[in-house]
């Protein structure tokens, strides 16, 4: 599904070049569960942004479903993000003045066609993540774990094939974190490809494949049966 070749990313700040990714080769198959591990500053979030088409690589090739991502413009990239990728962030990024239901439906605003069953879909997803009785709540009225579950429902509303999660349990207590990880395992079983960025060994243990990053490169790869 995804193929990266010799991806490099260099940030230029005040005339100083800082290389963050130094030649990453990576491929992801349909339905895989992969964890990107590394201490902070190793470039795993940068790689995540490039994977999610939120940022462009300085050099290298990127193919998504056989399409050359490097050649896509803003409109095409936005459409790809909207249709094929679901994002989950450490800070949840929910709209604070909108209900859980509205937040879940937000990606549909940018869909090429607004589905007639938008509301039913959002309600189903909220029920699936265990928030059937909290649909009208504002994010501030929900716990951290519940907010992250709203965010996961939002990531799923457009039925994407890839879920990208950046430290999804970083702001959560242990029990909530476990619940969220169970959710990701469920999603993997349902056939979604899942990529989680984390520095937490326990989180990475859920994945079938763990890629350890050090200083902008993959240092080693673990594969579990």
């Amino acid at each position: 599904m995804i193929r990266l070749k010799r991806i490099e990313k260099t940030f230029r700040n005040g005339g100083v070049d800082t290389p963050v990714l130094k030649g990453i080769d990576f491929s992801l198959d349909e339905g895989e569960f992969v964890a990107l591990m590394g201490t902070s500053g190793t470039g795993k979030s940068t790689l995540m942004n490039i994977l999610g088409c939120l940022d462009r690589a300085t050099a290298g090739q990127y193919e998504f479903d056989g399409r050359d991502v490097v050649a896509l413009d803003d409109v095409e990239l936005s459409r790809l993000r909207n249709e094929k990728i679901g994002f989950v962030f450490q800070q949840f990024h929910l709209l604070p003045r909108s209900s859980a239901l509205t937040n879940v439906m937000l990606p549909l605003v940018y869909a090429s066609q607004y589905p007639a069953d938008a509301r039913e879909r959002a309600e189903q997803l909220l029920a699936m993540v265990g928030l059937k009785d909290r649909m009208g709540y504002l994010p501030g009225q929900l716990s951290g774990g519940q907010q992250q579950r709203v965010a996961i429902a939002r990531a799923l509303i457009n039925r994407p094939r890839l879920i990208l999660a950046d430290e999804p349990t970083g702001n959560l207590d242990r029990q909530s974190a476990l619940d969220i990880l169970d959710l990701f395992s469920d999603l993997h079983r349902q056939g979604h490809a899942v990529v989680i960025v984390t520095h937490d060994q326990e989180v990475a243990a859920r994945a079938r494949r763990v890629l350890h990053m050090v200083d902008g490169r993959f240092e080693r790869e673990e594969v579990r049966p």
């Binding site: 939120l54 936005s78 605003v109 940018y110 607004y114 457009n158």
Partner: protein, 407 residues
């Protein structure tokens, strides 16, 4: 559809920041309200002026004895001259076919009495023709009859103010008053007219026949004013020129001598008066326009703050598929929302102020739909214009940066 859904979210966000939103809207409200009121009062002023000239009759050239200078827009006589006579009036009458009627007048301030009540007022002696030219009318009694003129009859028509001062609500018609030392019989009372555009009280006047005034009361042989009515507005400039020449010849003025009379063309006076009121309107209107620019800066400030605060939201929207143009449009519509709501409130306040001004008789104000629409359109345009910069800033925010820089 896609934008409609988004707009309701925007409304929620703007409502959540009530204080900030209302501060930025306040400028638009004041600007639109100010322009609406100013233009309405300007319209009222213009209508007032036109009404006044219409009442006087607009096809008029006024000949005044002596020279006049304009001080602060009002004519002031700078020398009393005794050369303008009844014979001049007759000569003007026969001057050309452009002249329809000629009405001579002379007036003096005098004390007018009814028993123990007395008042200082302007006694105006005028010919039968002048009564017609001036469009005088009565609310009770009658005007002068043709037969009463030229036979030195002591009859008078009172201005509404004089009637009130001397008779305090009683009907003056048929009663006797004393003007100077001469008794006059009141035959009519004029309706309330208010002040004219030169600030003269048109109600504190006593009208009497011309010859009575000249020979029995003032004891003068000269006139102050001759009203010359033209056949139409186009004839006025010809009359002005011919009358000037005729009077110079009759008064035997040598070429180097200045006129001992002043000619006033009503049409040019009307234009001048309208111009004065229009420039006032423009002046205050431009203050309103400056208000709107300030309002635009208010919108700009609020939008910039909003973009800064909502970087996380912008990043998230980009991540879930918003294009740059979607973000641009969202922030532009929020700016438009601010200025449209401000504009509507401003219109409502302006209309209210106009109604109040008329109700309490502060000023005559004619609400102008065109002006209201114009200021509304301008306010929305200003909002959009000042919304472009922040909206572009939001749209160009790098999604990855927006997501990480937000708390």
């Amino acid at each position: 559809m896609r934008y409609g859904r988004n707009l309701s979210i925007s409304v929620g966000i703007l409502m959540a920041h009530r204080l900030r939103t209302s501060l930025s809207v306040a400028g638009v409200v004041v600007g639109v309200a100010a322009i609406t009121v100013v233009v309405s009062v300007g319209n009222g002023m213009k209508a007032d002026i036109e009404d006044e000239f219409r009442a006087m009759g607009s096809e008029l050239v006024v000949v005044r004895s002596g020279r006049f200078r304009s001080h602060g827009g009002r004519p002031h006589q700078i020398a009393d001259v005794t050369t303008l006579t009844e014979e001049d009036a007759e000569a003007l009458q026969g001057m050309s076919s452009d002249v329809k009627a000629v009405g001579p007048c002379v007036s003096r301030p005098m004390v007018v009495k009814n028993g123990t009540l007395s008042t200082q007022s302007t006694v105006e002696a005028l010919s039968f023709a002048a009564v017609g030219i001036r469009n005088l009318s009565v609310s009770s009694g009658r005007l002068f009859l043709a037969g009463e003129m030229g036979v030195r009859r002591t009859v008078a028509v009172l201005g509404a103010g004089v009637a009130e001062n001397l008779f305090e609500g009683e009907d003056p018609v048929g009663r006797l008053i004393t003007v100077g030392r001469l008794p006059f019989r009141v035959i009519g009372v004029a309706p309330t007219l208010g002040t004219d555009i030169n600030g003269n009280d048109q109600d504190n006047v006593v009208y009497i026949p011309l010859d009575t005034g000249m020979r029995r009361l003032f004891h003068v042989t000269y006139l102050q004013t001759i009203y010359v009515k033209g056949v139409d507005a186009a004839s006025l400039s010809r009359i002005e020129e011919q009358a000037g020449r005729l009077l110079r010849t009759r008064h035997k003025l040598r070429p180097q001598e200045e006129d001992d009379f002043t000619l006033q063309n009503q049409v040019t006076m009307l234009e001048a008066a309208l111009q004065t009121s229009a420039s006032m309107t423009r002046l205050v209107g431009s203050v309103g326009a400056i208000c709107l620019v300030v309002a635009g800066i208010g919108v700009l400030a609020v939008m910039l703050m909003s973009v800064r605060e909502r970087r996380g939201e912008i990043g998230l929207r980009r991540a879930i598929g918003a294009r740059q143009s979607d973000i641009l449009l969202q922030f532009l519509s929020e700016a438009a929302l601010l200025s449209v709501s401000g504009g509507l409130i401003g219109l409502a306040l302006g209309a209210l102020a106009v109604a109040l001004a008329n109700e309490l008789q502060w000023a005559r104000a004619d609400f102008s739909v065109q002006a209201a629409l114009l200021s509304f359109t301008v306010s929305v345009t200003v909002g959009l214009l000042f919304g472009i910069y922040p909206a572009r800033k939001a749209a160009r925010l790098h999604p990855a940066v927006a997501l990480t820089s937000a708390g």
